[in-house]
């Protein structure tokens, strides 16, 4: 097993005096997350990206399913985190040239940094050069749907926010014709003679996160793509519906820039195909992203007729089933299960016809204004090159070959894969595998943690308590984003006249590095003690500007952002005067509030560097081993007598791994590890404390013990649904899939002798009671079907299904099953299959009657055994654990993570993490990678020296407190207690437990308890100034 390989690597490196750095190759969401986790954990990271900006494919998405979060809005704060992290060095326009192994087993990597032709430190991102540049080129960010200039910024939130010159299109770089940009740049930032730079760095470990390419339908001209103007790919459509896309928020079709009224989506373009040029696997994400696009398109164009031509609908992940229902339930939206072919482009209208066939109506041809091809995911273009350089293998599909039991491990120890490099993956999986890769890097480099990491140093904070408020106002143009609508100079003049304002100025991009520096300088020079940044939303850049004022030597809470972009210039773009007036009012409110702001300190508390893991299944054991190998103390709590959880009932995986042997080896490793304390037959009775300092009472074998820990990982798994349908429990021939698997493994005669087996899918889920897909059952059925066929090829095996959801590489096994004679019969929920005992020819059998939608009539399947693919349901103890740790459950009863996309293993409650089937049903490989991810996040927390709690929390003016308890009864965090004082009982806030929502503040009849940074006085000041 490759953990052994890692162990060897650890041993061989223990005495080497080596650097503790990691290189992350690829700065999409996965690479970014890996870099952030590694940096937080105390490693120096090189984040290498070949594009001019970080962000990857996620930055091109309009929204993300199933929450419809704005993709850029949730990703861009991570760009800023990366660029500001002292342990991360971002290297854009950079490629890997060479990788050599040093004697100590380190990687010596030679990088080639291609010229950007712009000096990063000097460019302010003002885009004046872009305005003047005469050379146009198709905009790569918008999938070449519109034009940009040869000098451009990839997208407006790009990191680094500096321009880049495309050498293919620049007139000077092509034939020395023009140097306009050099002339107009006030910062001398343009260097048309920049040369590539080489650099060799030594790192101890590597994370490969190069992502994926979308399938290119132009190569084969699929569905007329490339020939017909109104056939676009889904990624192109994603740009078309985006506010930052070519239509600036208007969905306009390419041929005539008109709103399309009839749009067709064609699924599985390039996926689930064995014909040349196609990919045999399922790309996993297309069903859901198409549903997203349907929802968004209907939002833009309420009258739209949307048609999706699909094969199986693979809504297999958390909340996907509801999302599918949401999309398909919209008016004028049709989901049609049919193969399709494109017809022709109609002269005049440029509309496109599509031919398809339905069970009811046979073959039809229909006209559409726009056709969107839901293209699949291909390996990254440079996969082969990367693999050769890093000495790793690729799989048959050209993606990274990984350990089937842990998709993060490549074939070379010390090199890890994260994100879609190991195969089609959605954003959450890309994120948790990134955290997992970070954790596994740690297992190689643990001894070196913190050696090279840097911390930011800030100037000493000035005491301003004796000073009158001296407010500085910085009004940002945000390029033209604000300045085009709001008259910025007049806002500056207005601000100068406001009470307490001693300085006001304009700023082109307040957030650019040199502008931020300038703000810090002005604070010092003018002796400012309060700062108002009139710019964008504090939700994105507040951390940056807090830092800026801190650099200026004053408390970081002496800053307020007046949001004159999202809340003003962008929403009143046609009313310039009114918008300017409103901007003035917003600034006035902010100045009034800022004058009253108080300095606040963030509280630091020591961290107990140990973790409590609840659940000793595959997820819990993996998380335990990953953390223990890096020196963290682990308490592993299991409710049963033995470790292994649900995996003890699983014997083999679809890929052929012997699960029992795996579980046995894992549990031995766990028991042998001196860092891990295993507590079996345990029940958790009480949890108190907070991140860094939890105290949990565990009862085991009648003994109650107290475990002190800094973090917790919930890995309590899930369980199999006990069917009440299809004669289960009433007839011995009806089994669940897990029971069938056990009997196959035990070679029980009832199974070995069976001539026929019928499997029924979706038993106990995808229904009203459990409105979700249990994700694993289709693959499980295929797995057992293949096993049954392997044992006895002539045996009749039929799978009765609704949609076969064998996503990713599992599709290959589905195809294999079909080729081996496994029969697939589809049913719809209106016609549930019926199981009945029969006696025929003196033989007791079972008859499964299915209404076949293709034949349009019932089909009777006589069989010896019926295997029910019973749903995976939440663990019986989920509710109790949820209550004890104060973490939420989703409507389906699984644990609800902090954010479905970007914080898939975190809870909103800090210091508590999640992995495995407690999160949602998943396969063993996915569980393992997620458990590494949870371990990685827990390590990132426990590697900190202290827990830092925000200063914007509640406090009590004791003399005003009448001890009525109104605050205590309102605070669900139990952050408020009564304490005895010299003047009697008074409310007291525990600053670590207080989360700063301020409910208590509004409940207090005497205004004794108050929320810092949002006090009544501060809010009144805003109200009065409005």
């Amino acid at each position: 097993m490759s953990t052994t390989a890692i162990e060897q690597l650890q041993l061989s490196r223990q005495n080497s005096d080596r650097l503790g750095d990691v290189m992350v190759v690829g700065a999409g969401i996965s690479g970014i997350q890996a870099a952030l986790d590694l940096a937080e954990t105390g490693f120096r990271v090189y984040l290498v990206e070949k594009a001019p900006a970080i962000g990857g494919k996620m930055s091109q998405l309009d929204k993300t399913f199933p929450s419809n979060d704005c993709s850029m809005c949730i990703e861009s704060p991570k760009f800023i985190e990366c660029s500001r992290h002292p342990n991360i060095e971002i290297l854009t326009t950079t490629e890997i040239l060479r990788v050599e192994e040093s004697d100590e087993g380190d990687f010596q990597i030679t990088l080639n940094r291609k010229p950007r032709y712009v000096i990063e430190d000097r460019c302010t991102g003002c885009t004046t050069c872009v305005e003047f540049c005469p050379a146009q080129m198709p905009d790569p960010y918008n999938q070449r749907l519109n034009l940009t200039k040869a000098i451009h910024i990839q997208f407006s939130q790009a990191t680094p926010l500096v321009t880049y010159i495309d050498p293919e299109h620049c007139f000077y770089l092509k034939d020395e014709r023009c140097q306009i940009c050099v002339g107009v740049c006030k910062h001398n930032a343009i260097d048309l003679h920049q040369k590539p730079q080489r650099r060799t760095v030594t790192v101890g470990s590597v994370v490969l996160a190069p992502g994926f390419e979308t399938f290119d339908p132009a190569l084969r001209g699929d569905f007329g793509y490339g020939r017909f103007k109104n056939v676009v790919t889904s990624l192109e459509f994603e740009r078309m519906i985006s506010a930052t896309g070519p239509g600036a928020g208007h969905v306009l079709r390419p041929s005539d820039s008109k709103h399309p009224h009839r749009i067709a989506w064609v699924q599985c373009v390039g996926s689930r195909q064995v014909i040349p040029g196609g990919n045999s696997y399922c790309s996993s994400v297309c069903c859901s992203y198409t549903q997203k696009q349907v929802i968004l398109a209907k939002d833009h164009l309420p009258e739209l007729n949307a048609t999706v031509f699909h094969n199986d609908i693979r809504a297999f992940s958390k909340d996907f089933e509801r999302y599918y229902q949401r999309a398909s339930g919209l008016s004028d939206v049709r989901f049609i299960r049919s193969y399709t072919s494109v017809g022709r482009e109609l002269p005049g209208s440029d509309n496109v016809t599509i031919r398809y066939a339905t069970d009811e109506d046979g073959v039809k041809e229909e006209e559409f204004d726009l056709v969107v091809l839901s293209v699949g995911l291909n390996p990254p273009k440079d996969a082969k090159d990367l693999a050769a350089k890093f000495g790793i293998e690729l799989n048959a599909h050209g993606f990274c070959k990984t350990n089937p039991m842990n998709p993060i491990e490549t074939t070379r120890p010390g090199v890890f894969a994260s994100g879609a490099f190991f195969g089609p993956a959605d954003i959450p999986e890309s994120v948790w595998s990134a955290s997992g890769a970070s954790a596994l890097c740690g297992t190689v480099l643990a001894a070196r943690r913190g050696k090279l990491s840097r911390e930011r140093e800030y100037p000493e904070e000035r005491d301003v308590s004796k000073e009158e408020p001296k407010v500085g106002v910085f009004v940002c143009h945000c390029g033209a984003n604000i300045g085009r609508v709001v008259n910025v100079p007049s806002v500056v003049e207005y601000a100068k006249g406001l009470k307490n304002v001693v300085h006001a100025q304009e700023s082109l991009f307040a957030c650019s590095t040199d502008n931020a520096q300038q703000i810090s300088d002005v604070i010092r020079e003018k002796g400012l003690n309060r700062v108002v940044i009139a710019a964008c939303s504090p939700r994105t850049l507040e951390p940056l500007f807090r830092d800026t004022v801190r650099e200026g030597g004053i408390n970081q809470y002496f800053m307020d952002m007046a949001n004159i972009r999202e809340h003003c210039s962008w929403v009143h773009s046609k009313e310039k005067d009114a918008a300017t007036q409103k901007a003035k009012e917003i600034v006035s409110m902010s100045v009034a509030r800022t004058s009253l702001l108080e300095p606040l300190s963030e509280i630091e508390l020591p961290i107990n560097k140990s973790v409590l893991i609840i659940g000793g299944g595959v997820a819990g054991m993996n998380a335990a081993l990953t953390m223990a190998s890096q020196g963290f103390e682990v308490s592993l709590v299991e409710k049963d007598k033995d470790l292994g959880g649900m995996a003890r009932r699983i014997h083999y995986t679809l890929e052929g791994t012997d699960v029992q042997a795996y579980v046995k080896e894992m549990s031995q490793q766990v028991y042998r590890n001196p860092q891990i304390r295993v507590i079996t037959e345990a029940v958790i009775e009480e949890v108190s404390g907070y991140v860094g300092n939890f105290v949990t009472k565990v009862r085991a074998q009648k003994r109650l013990r107290e475990v002190k820990h800094g973090a917790a990982i919930i890995a309590i798994g899930a369980q199999e649904y006990q069917p009440t349908e299809h004669l289960y429990g009433l007839h011995t021939g009806v089994l669940t899939q897990l029971e069938l698997e056990g009997r196959i493994a035990a070679s029980e005669p009832a199974v070995t002798g069976a001539e026929g087996v019928v499997m029924i899918q979706c038993v106990g889920c995808r229904n009203k009671e459990r409105n979700y897909c249990a994700r694993v059952c289709c693959s499980q059925a295929i797995k057992n079907a293949l096993k049954l066929k392997e044992q006895k090829p002539e045996r009749e095996v039929t799978i009765v299904y609704r949609d076969m959801r064998t996503y990713g590489y599992r599709e290959n096994y589905y195809r294999e099953a079909a080729s081996k004679g496994v029969r697939f019969v589809r049913f719809t929920p209106e016609h549930e299959p019926v199981v009945a005992p029969i006696r025929e020819g003196g033989k007791e059998q079972l008859r499964v009657t299915v209404f076949d939608p293709i034949l349009g009539q019932p089909l009777a399947l006589d069989t010896d055994l019926v295997a029910l693919s019973a749903a995976v349901v939440p663990s019986a103890s989920a509710q109790q654990i949820s209550r004890l740790f104060k973490v939420p459950l989703s409507p389906d009863g699984f644990f609800l993570e902090a954010h479905v996309k970007l914080r898939p293993v975190d809870f909103s409650a800090e210091g508590v993490f999640l992995c495995g089937t407690a999160h949602y049903p998943k396969h063993i490989g996915e569980t393992i990678s997620q458990s590494c991810g949870a371990a990685g996040r827990a390590i990132a927390t426990l590697s900190q020296d202290a827990v830092i709690a925000t200063g914007a929390i509640c406090d009590v003016k004791e003399d005003a407190c009448v001890a009525c308890g109104a605050c205590i009864s309102a605070c669900a965090y139990d952050a408020i207690d009564f304490v005895e004082t010299a003047h009697g009982k008074k409310a007291h806030v525990n600053p670590i437990l207080c989360k700063g929502d301020g409910l208590c503040n509004s409940k207090c009849p005497t205004k004794a308890i108050f929320l810092n940074h949002f006090t009544d006085e501060e809010i009144f000041a805003q109200i009065d100034a409005a």
Partner: protein
């Protein structure tokens, strides 16, 4: 009432950081347009919304108050302050109605971080509604001085109202409709009348007498209150030695 020409209502919005403020941000990012009537105050949670803020906003010439929070069940905090925001909304509506201010001037909407479009819609809708209601006070036929007096009268009672809320009206329902039903129920109305309404009337009368002494009729006319109620409240207040009857002037004055 004639609505002044070109009347553009002023709205003060209180938005929670995690959903509505983010939704307003997304609205901007997506370039959805809405009238420039709204100015926004960011709070971490709509549970921070205080009755005081409503009164202060209306006292300061705003024509409407908007509260934006996360959808029920989606609050970022374990405290689920958005449920409490609903109670604040209904209490505010009741108090405003009691002093003759149109309760439609305060509005609460759930807007999630992904509902940029919805944010534009609700702001536009609320702006339109307030435009038809006319300027605060003018729309109600209350002169500015009396309006101020009435709002101050409510504000003075807030500590007491908060205690009543804690003791009698701290409720938790599943949805908006149930809240509306509860706050409109005869039981709640009776409770409101017995615990708050009389004190509110007295608070207004005392506010008025603070300026100068006045006759019963004068008080009733200014406050637009039935003369019988004024008489009743004055009797109570005399008993509590809050006011006294000036025999010479035939007027009531502060005691």
């Amino acid at each position: 009432m004639a609505i002044p020409e070109n009347f553009r209502p002023k709205i003060l919005g209180f938005l929670c950081n995690w959903c509505s403020y983010a939704g307003a941000d997304l609205c901007g990012t997506s370039r959805y347009q809405y009238p420039p009537s709204l100015r926004i105050i960011r709070m971490m949670c709509s549970g921070r919304m205080d009755l005081d803020f409503v009164l202060r906003a209306l006292s300061n010439g705003n024509d409407g108050v908007f509260i934006g929070g996360c959808w029920l069940g989606e609050c970022h905090y374990v405290t689920e302050g958005n449920y409490d925001a609903l109670s604040v909304l209904h209490l505010a509506k009741k108090l405003l109605a009691k002093v003759g201010i149109n309760p439609a001037r305060i509005r609460l909407e759930w807007v999630s971080a992904s509902q940029g479009n919805r944010f534009a819609e609700v702001v536009t809708e609320f702006t339109n509604e307030l435009t038809t209601l006319g300027p605060l006070g003018e729309g109600e036929g209350i002169d500015p001085a009396t309006l101020k007096l009435k709002l101050d009268a409510v504000a003075r009672l807030l500590p007491y109202i908060k205690l009543v809320e804690r003791e009698k009206i701290r409720v938790r329902f599943e949805n908006k409709e149930e809240y509306a039903e509860f706050f409109d129920s005869p039981a709640l109305n009776a409770l409101f009348d017995t615990t708050i309404a009389d004190k509110l009337a007295i608070s207004q009368i005392l506010g008025l007498l603070h300026e100068r002494q006045r006759s019963t009729r004068e008080i009733a006319d200014t406050l637009n209150m039935p003369i019988s109620e004024v008489t009743e409240r004055l009797k109570d207040s005399s008993r509590q030695k809050l006011v006294r009857f000036d025999e010479a002037e035939k007027c009531y004055a502060l005691a």
